[in-house]
């Protein structure tokens, strides 16, 4: 498969009465977008704010972050099975509004929503402080259940990102990147001497607000399967999660999966990137056993020499991570896992809920229990009192002066387990 990503660099977002992309500025017709989003009968209101890197602004609680994209050539459309039809994506040409994102907030859905600070110490831990963000404050109608609330905000974010992405369809990209993958046979013929490497991408699927969607399919109801790496760049995988903010994979992470980008960068040079095996993180033991058996079986079908495994969430999914690693290693496939740690506030506790000697090559995104002080910001978008109840917060986390003392867990994307960040621990 061959996918061209045309990046349109966005340096500012302006709200007004006309939607367009011009000279690197994204103009948003607020009324038109609001009307589109309020077609959802579960939403009571949607308000918009624009925030830029370096501003003294806090967004809390953050549900999802999504990068606007649009399909320009090739089959299918972005976010297949959710916004576009289910047609297979990942080839042709896609335009990306680079440097900006849609951030959804509003009344907290689950306990596990996050914080984005655009400046100060908190900003160093989240990649989203470096983007121009269109923040959408989505408030639900009274009386709806949490899962309806989650669905409404998820769809609002995706609709908005698709709406904004479409504005870039006829804009000439500032930069074009080409991603080309090989078939199982042609790759072997083309790179006979390079190690065959696969990526086992674990998707959060514990259910009860912990879900991930692939072409619209709820991943907890799917067996592990194989994706072409470029499919993720068109939004084949979407977040439906309210798991801990620091290590949840937002839709932005899926679109810009760093493992996929780094493996494609090395494809044909130091390794042969054969494909992506997606698997789930279900809660029942039989599901865990079956899925880890299957991810290993698929890796053996692809005759992999090596595998990289990334995780989402912590605790319960640690068992899936270790099962995957153990079984891949036992099948003779050299494995590296990416995780993060819950070593306690003092760093002295066991970091993972499961362990095995086979996991002898681990990359860590840092200790999520580390306590951080987030100073007061001039402006807060959303509901600051959520700091007292979100995962990583505690009663009194929000201080009278507006500052927050909490665990790193509260910061969206801080200890990402796809290896999106430079944060680590020893």
């Amino acid at each position: 498969m061959r996918l061209e990503l045309g990046e349109i660099h966005i340096s500012d977002i302006k709200l007004g009465d006309c939607s367009k992309v011009e000279n690197g500025t994204l103009y948003v017709n607020v009324e038109e977008l609001r009307a589109l989003l309020l077609e959802d009968e579960d939403l009571a209101s949607v308000d918009f704010e624009v925030v830029h890197p370096g501003e003294s602004v806090r967004i809390i609680p953050v549900k999802d972050v999504i990068e606007p994209r649009v399909k320009v050539e090739g089959s299918g459309g972005v976010f297949p099975g959710m916004i576009s039809k289910v047609t297979t994506v990942g080839s042709g040409k896609t335009h990306v509004l680079k440097g900006c994102a849609v951030v959804t907030t509003g009344k907290v859905v689950g306990f596990q929503e996050g914080i984005i600070d655009m400046t100060g110490p908190g900003a160093e831990y989240t990649p989203f402080s470096k983007l121009n963000n269109l923040v959408m404050i989505c408030e639900p109608k009274e009386g709806i259940k949490q899962h309806q609330h989650e669905h409404a905000i998820r769809m609002a974010g995706l609709k908005a990102a698709a709406y904004l992405g479409a504005l870039g369809k006829d804009v000439t990209p500032d930069e074009t990147k080409v991603y080309e993958t090989s078939g199982v046979m042609s790759g072997k013929e083309k790179y006979p001497d390079l190690p065959r490497v696969g990526y086992v991408l674990m998707l959060q699927s514990q259910g009860l607000l912990h879900d991930t969607y692939v072409y619209g399919v709820d991943m907890k109801k799917s067996m592990p399967t194989i994706l072409n790496p470029t499919e993720t760049m068109d939004g084949a995988i979407l977040s439906g999660n309210c798991v801990s903010a620091c290590d949840k994979n937002t839709t932005y992470h899926h679109l810009n999966n760093p493992v996929i980008h780094d493996l494609l960068e090395q494809h044909g040079k130091t390794l042969n990137f054969v494909g992506v095996i997606i698997t789930n993180e279900n809660v029942y033991l039989a599901d865990k056993e079956r899925s880890s058996d299957w991810s290993t079986k698929l890796a053996q079908f692809l005759e992999l020499d090596g595998a990289l495994v990334s995780q989402e969430g912590f605790g319960n999914p640690d068992t899936d991570l270790i099962m995957n690693c153990k079984k891949l290693e036992a099948a003779g496939i050299k494995t590296v896992i990416i995780t993060d740690e819950y070593a306690g506030r003092d760093g002295a506790s066991q970091s993972l809920a499961d362990a095995d000697p086979a996991a002898d090559a681990v990359v860590t995104g840092g200790n999520a229990n580390m306590v951080i002080h987030l100073p007061k910001m001039d402006k807060v978008i959303g509901h600051p009192e959520a700091a007292n109840i979100i995962a990583g917060g505690f009663d009194g986390a929000l201080e009278a002066d507006g500052s927050i003392t909490a665990e790193l867990q509260v910061i969206t994307g801080a200890t990402n387990e796809m290896g999106f960040n430079k944060l680590s621990a020893r």
Partner: protein, 348 residues
């Protein structure tokens, strides 16, 4: 004014002699001796070795208590801001002496201290979780690498500055995980690690696997009809309103609540504080997590002897193993003291 450093070394590095002088008794000299000169160079004027305590390795290890007391007094009298011991490289007795002196300086004199040695020095395993030990090469040829690391860490400690992660500062991992920013993002580090692993080249895991303590389940209860059963959960069930504010993740406490008057938990009286799952179903009927209704029925039917009047609850979500262990021990103690032989633990 530069920081005052006192340096501890053995008879060999003081150029007094080798094994034949290993019974050399403690001696204090003004200023830097031997490797202290390399430290002074590495301090770049920010600190200075004002005095050196020298002791033979055999003397120290064979007269441990007396030698330690004498050495500590000499160090204390010199009024240092920070103490440096060694480095001992791969010299075993010297490593143990450096570790012993360093630990005593930290615990008894309450002064900051740094030592250094090779990772296979027996002193490393004995002391790396107690004091900062810079990892050095296995011979004195490693002084050029060791001196700047020991000097930099000593200055930071003396000034009370934040100490970075082991990989940044060069000290041996001491069981405390410390966050820091790497030069490359995690995915890039993972790809490089995998390429090394595939090529059979050396690589270093960022998180060595811990050894887990597994608990064998207790023997089955044979006389349930006369056994009182306790209910314990990490599913976060609490009286409505969460009176003790148990956190939704990384719980700092557990709760103990009276259920003696409850036949059935309902949305009117109980809910969950857990942040790791959609609370709708637990909030509708907390018996789904803490099965009070079923146990009351079994109690009436005479299948179980009774229910312990209090249930214990915490939130398992993101809670450190060390915290969970502490809560488990406290709960276990109360149940044991009350003569309770059986408990049902529910998770989520």
């Amino acid at each position: 004014m530069s920081l005052r450093v006192v340096h501890y070394i053995n008879q060999f590095f003081a150029q007094i002699g080798g094994e034949e002088k290993a019974d050399y008794a403690p001696e204090y000299r003004e200023g830097a001796v031997g490797p202290g000169l390399a430290l002074n160079a590495a301090f770049k004027g920010e600190a200075e070795v004002v005095g050196t305590v020298i002791c033979g390795d055999s003397y120290f290890n064979e007269n441990l208590d007396a030698a330690k007391a004498t050495v500590l007094k000499m160090i204390s009298d010199a009024k240092p801001d920070v103490v440096v011991c060694g480095p001992a490289f791969n010299a075993g007795r010297y490593g143990v002496a450096c570790g012993t002196v360093a630990a005593a300086v930290k615990d008894e004199l309450n002064l900051p201290v740094v030592t250094g040695m090779y990772e296979e020095n027996p002193g490393a395993d004995m002391f790396k979780n107690k004091v900062y030990i810079i990892a050095t090469k296995n011979s004195a040829a490693g002084m050029r690498d060791a001196a700047p690391k020991m000097a930099s860490l000593a200055i930071k400690l003396a000034k009370g500055e934040k100490i970075g992660a082991s990989a940044e500062e060069g000290y041996m991992p001491n069981g405390l995980r410390v966050n820091f920013f790497e030069a490359e993002r995690g995915s890039t580090r993972a790809v490089k690690m995998l390429l090394n692993k595939l090529a059979g080249k050396p690589y270093t895991t960022e998180f060595p696997m811990p050894s887990f303590d597994r608990v064998a389940p207790g023997a089955a209860i044979t006389d349930l009809a006369h056994t009182t059963i306790a209910l314990v959960t990490s599913g976060g069930i609490v009286p409505k309103g969460n009176p003790d504010h148990i956190e939704s993740s990384s719980a700092s406490k557990f709760g103990r609540y009276d259920i003696s008057s409850f036949e059935d938990l309902t949305a009117a009286d109980h809910e969950t504080a857990h942040g790791g799952y959609d609370p709708v179903y637990a909030n509708e009927d907390a018996d789904r997590v803490l099965p009070v209704d079923v146990l009351r029925k079994m109690e009436k039917e005479g299948k179980i002897g009774g229910i312990y009047p209090y249930f214990f609850t915490t939130v398992g979500n993101g809670t450190a193993v060390a915290s969970a262990k502490k809560y488990g021990e406290a709960i276990g103690k109360e149940l044991r003291d009350a003569g309770i032989k059986a408990a049902i633990l529910t998770s989520t």
